[in-house]
Chain length 610, copies 2
């Protein structure tokens, strides 16, 4: 490797070795520096800003002739002495300073949800056996000896052996005086361990933004721990479409998305096992749920067909494969179970949510919402289940919002306006550095309530002392620089209000279309189940105030937390729940909104602020 | 990587990069230079001789005090200006000249055998399907669409999808206008190809010394080609025990033996497919047979327990796994089937031999021999099948013989002595450079016939003008240097005769013990089936003359070629044959010779030359 250049990322102390012409973003990805890249590296979002401290890089592009819009993000960065990592290519060894704001922040991961009790009936079972050692009078092969021992001592049939478990068997038998613990799955020996080791299970909700994982003792059903981390694919684009675009660049890119995601799952498994004083080699079964795109990416399936009408998944049925086929480092023959998908944009995570919330067996007319970048909506009525998906966009994750950020420390998460007084709270009571989804939603609701915003979302000049105009765009000064040590002004702009209108309008329109499908009036809805991280932290009052939710009494709403994760955990400990999940996926009547005759009308109506 | 040294192997033109202190043998292995190493790299066999042309290496060891035997092989090499690669460590960049004799020679691979007709019934089947493309009115997932197409168009159930086949499915469907060829195995879609591609199968007999492979069109049953190459593990020791010793050094060594063997299988598959104008990605099923050690090594199973009494295999039953689990590059979801083993030293290759020769359904009293480094012997009588294994040693492969070599061009393969006249033939009529197994066997038989050898194998001084003494050891000059362009004298020594006595004695004793087990006299044997490469080329008359075979009329002997390979091919095309193989393995009554009360007596008696 001659001609190799080094790129040092400070203050992280990581060094990449790359070919000349590599972008700083590619270099960063290579060494696990997770730069934000909301637009997927196309130079438009301006989130991957870095400072080139030493060395030669390609010059910034000249301003477009005639003063067009191209390169705006890059010029904004330049004005602060920064460059966009995705647009800057290395020409010599370079040293780069990464501002904290450019790194994927640790997010407040909403990982808890309401548990439903369920009978323990996992897909794997563990058996301790004690075998007689071989002798010249008893020359049975190790595998045969084990099989006979399992049948004789436990009455179970083991007619297959995972090849990696088989490789460990001879040594484990001899090192443990022929007493071992055997993990069986569907007649296959998938793992062998010293006698007495209990098998572990891992349930993971793979969100576009975050991963939420649960470690379960499969012998007792006890949850040993839970943890949430960012989905490391974030560095390749913040939403599903950006990931699809990246994956479509080629097979290597699809593999890379798969690899970094599995790396994140591996890290989570390790972390949880270490916390529980165990080893990830004891994890013998995992259940993964995610939207259809995450489901496909973790399996390494192509996703291009998910980005084009008619948005057909490669695979809808539930699926089992060995963890090692994914590169996931669990027990030798550990299995991964993926719940079924419903459609291209209603995935296994929604099936898990329906399973966990019991929507499939609801006796009341119930609307179920799993709010995220995509929001899945289901309607349970008279034994029917209708589902749709709407692109609510990343505004609730803080993206596309002027001072938006994810729900990380320092994010304004709660806002109240009392005349001229502005009250707010930040996560962890840290100095305010941005506004997260629930804060923006509160802000818009409050601005509308006190009359700063019109029904169409227009911000009225002079309606409040905090309303000001920056470059012709009206904005509301939520946090002045210096207040509570805020490093800069935090504002809610006219455009931010629009983003919230688009997002909440899509959700509301989806609900209305589903109700229309079965001829129901809004007020007939008896219960609204709100799931998802944002769904947990949002203020139902604010969501009602902006018209995101239909106007129903507050007590009909219930916030259930990470129901998808809870559903994954149910499927981990119960084969019956897996069968129920399959029934749910089969039963759901999918409603495609993009081509629905009533959607556009409903959407336009829902854009207004009540 | 500072401190890295280069080792150039000439005239092969390969360069290894190694740490100081690496042996030349390790360096050679690293870059695929397959040096002979009969002893497995312990410095005793002297077969890995090389010439250090430039650079610094460790000095040869001093002669042991008191003139002991240690370092003999090294000193012999030094006398010719050579060093043993396994005992010589690099201290600087070095250049090494590799004499042709030190490289694993291409061997005359005996790959053909007698075919038995069998009904075509392979484990995989291929179906062409034409599907309707998805639309907004038909949003079925690709996998569901394919499954329904298979059921509707062919009435077959595909309820599982190999993950790699699934990854290819979306693109293949769209690139081929939704018309594809689907390979099904046991309800699982294991491969997808453009419509009309016929599925291929690969059968391989993994010998300790050579690999024999057959490529079969699984749609027609036609054999498209066959090829034989050396087992690349040869570089790690020539016999099973040397391989076991190497594998026992650690898991990395076990992996390495697995890796080089699979590399050899990959190369064979590629070669055969290229010859047939096909691609190894079309190979959807493979059957492997080999002795228990080869079986274990190809699976990456530990073999230490095969090297210690009571010689218990890790796995005896037939076994199926994905080719990719072995690192074998065939079709995406290609399967590998391994026939069952009988015992630690009677492996799947013998089961295949019994299957191919029909010994399991023989109506006559039949002895079956598969002669190799280990010789497996079976006796079929009255519906019973008894089997044993004897260590016949590598003499028949030309090892441990003074001028021995494998059956490669230039090997003396046939010898007749007529008074003082010596007649011989070499393979390919090339100038004589050594003597292969059949040549040595002929030589010993003829020397005994004309009275040069006594019944105990002693060579009588003065019994023939060609008998001479070199360093107190009597030897027979078979080919004088210069005759037929022979580069040196080729001799049969007293020790060579002993090696043949030991080898043939073990085989004969095994036969006698099996006959004794069922109370039969030798002359009751109605048929003797002789299989294996050496078994094909040996002269039955010579084998009778030295007493390797029991004294029976010539017409009771039949040489069947590579019956193990034929058996593998049967199992490739017929699931019924796989079931028969399992029945055979279950039925065989294994007789352990090492602890058998009558073996030693029979062995001593069988050492004599009749």
């Amino acid at each position: 490797m001659t001609n190799e250049l080094t790129v040092d990322f400070e203050p992280l102390g990581r060094r990449a070795r790359v070919a000349p012409g590599t972008t700083l973003l590619e270099a960063a990805r290579q060494v696990g520096v997770e730069l934000n890249a909301v637009c997927g590296g196309t130079g438009t979002c301006g989130t991957c800003r870095v400072r080139v401290v030493a060395g030669q890089v390609t010059p910034p592009p000249p301003p477009p002739p005639g003063g067009g819009k191209g390169g705006e993000a890059e010029r904004d960065a330049l004005a602060e002495g920064l460059r966009l990592a995705c647009q800057t290519r290395v020409l010599s060894d370079v040293r780069v300073d990464v501002p904290p704001a450019s790194i994927t922040a640790p997010q407040r991961a909403q990982i808890e949800g309401r548990e439903r009790p369920v009978e323990l009936d996992p897909a794997v079972r563990s058996f301790d056996v004690a075998l007689a050692p071989p002798s010249l009078a008893d020359l049975q092969a190790d595998a045969t000896r084990l099989r006979d021992g399992l049948r004789g001592q436990h009455g179970v049939v083991a007619d297959r052996f995972d090849p990696l478990a088989l490789r460990q068997l001879p040594t484990l038998l001899r090192e443990n005086e022929w007493r071992v613990s055997v993990v069986l799955r569907d007649g296959e020996v998938i793992a062998v361990a010293p006698a007495g080791v209990s098998p572990l299970g891992l349930a993971v909700d793979i969100g576009t933004t975050k991963l939420a994982a649960y470690l379960v003792d499969l012998a007792s059903g006890e949850t040993l721990g839970s943890a949430g981390v960012m989905n490391p694919q974030i560095a390749y684009g913040e939403d599903v479409l950006a990931r699809i675009a990246y994956a479509m660049e080629g097979e290597d890119q699809t593999r890379e998305l798969q690899r970094v995601l599995v790396g994140g799952l591996d890290d989570l498994a390790c972390e949880l096992c270490t916390q529980a004083g165990r080893d990830s080699a004891d994890v013998v079964e995992a259940v993964l749920v995610g939207n259809t795109c995450m489901h496909h990416l973790v399996l390494g399936l192509p996703v291009s067909q998910l980005g084009l009408a008619p948005y057909v998944p490669a695979l809808a049925d539930s699926y089992d494969l060995k963890a090692r086929e994914l590169g996931l480092r669990l027990a030798s023959g550990a299995n991964v179970h993926l719940l079924p998908n419903i459609a291209g944009f209603v995935g296994a995570d929604h099936v898990a949510m329906l399973l966990a919330t019991g929507l499939h067996e609801a006796r009341e007319i119930t609307v179920g919402l799993d709010i995220g970048t995509n929001t899945e909506i289901s309607l349970a009525v008279d034994g029917r289940l209708l589902s749709c998906s709407c692109a609510s966009g990343p505004a609730f994750e803080g993206a596309h919002i002027h001072d938006g950020m994810r729900a990380a420390p320092g994010a304004v998460e709660w806002v109240r306006l009392d005349g001229e007084r502005v009250e707010y709270q930040t996560i962890d009571e840290a100095p305010p550095v941005g506004i997260c989804g629930s804060g923006v939603l509160d802000g818009v609701a409050e601005l509308r309530r006190i009359g700063v915003l019109g029904a169409n979302g227009a911000m009225k000049a002079g309606s409040h002392p905090r309303v000001r105009t920056t470059g012709n765009v009206p904005e509301f000064l939520l946090v002045p620089a210096g207040e509570q040590e805020s490093p800069r002004d935090l504002v809610i702009t006219r455009k931010d209000v629009n983003e919230i209108q688009l997002a909440k309008g899509a959700i509301r329109a989806g609900i209305e279309v589903l109700l229309g499908e079965v001829g129901l009036e809004t007020e007939q809805v008896e219960r609204v189940v709100v799931a998802g991280a944002f769904g947990t932290y949002l203020d139902v009052g604010s969501a009602l105030a902006v018209g995101m939710f239909p106007p129903l009494p507050r007590e009909r709403f219930v916030q259930v937390g990470n129901a998808a994760g809870m559903g994954a955990k149910l499927a981990l400990v119960s084969r019956r729940c897996r069968r129920v999940a399959e029934e749910i996926a089969r039963r759901v009547e999918y409603v495609e909104l993009t081509t629905h005759p009533r959607f556009v009308e409903a959407y336009i109506a829902a854009l207004m602020l009540p």
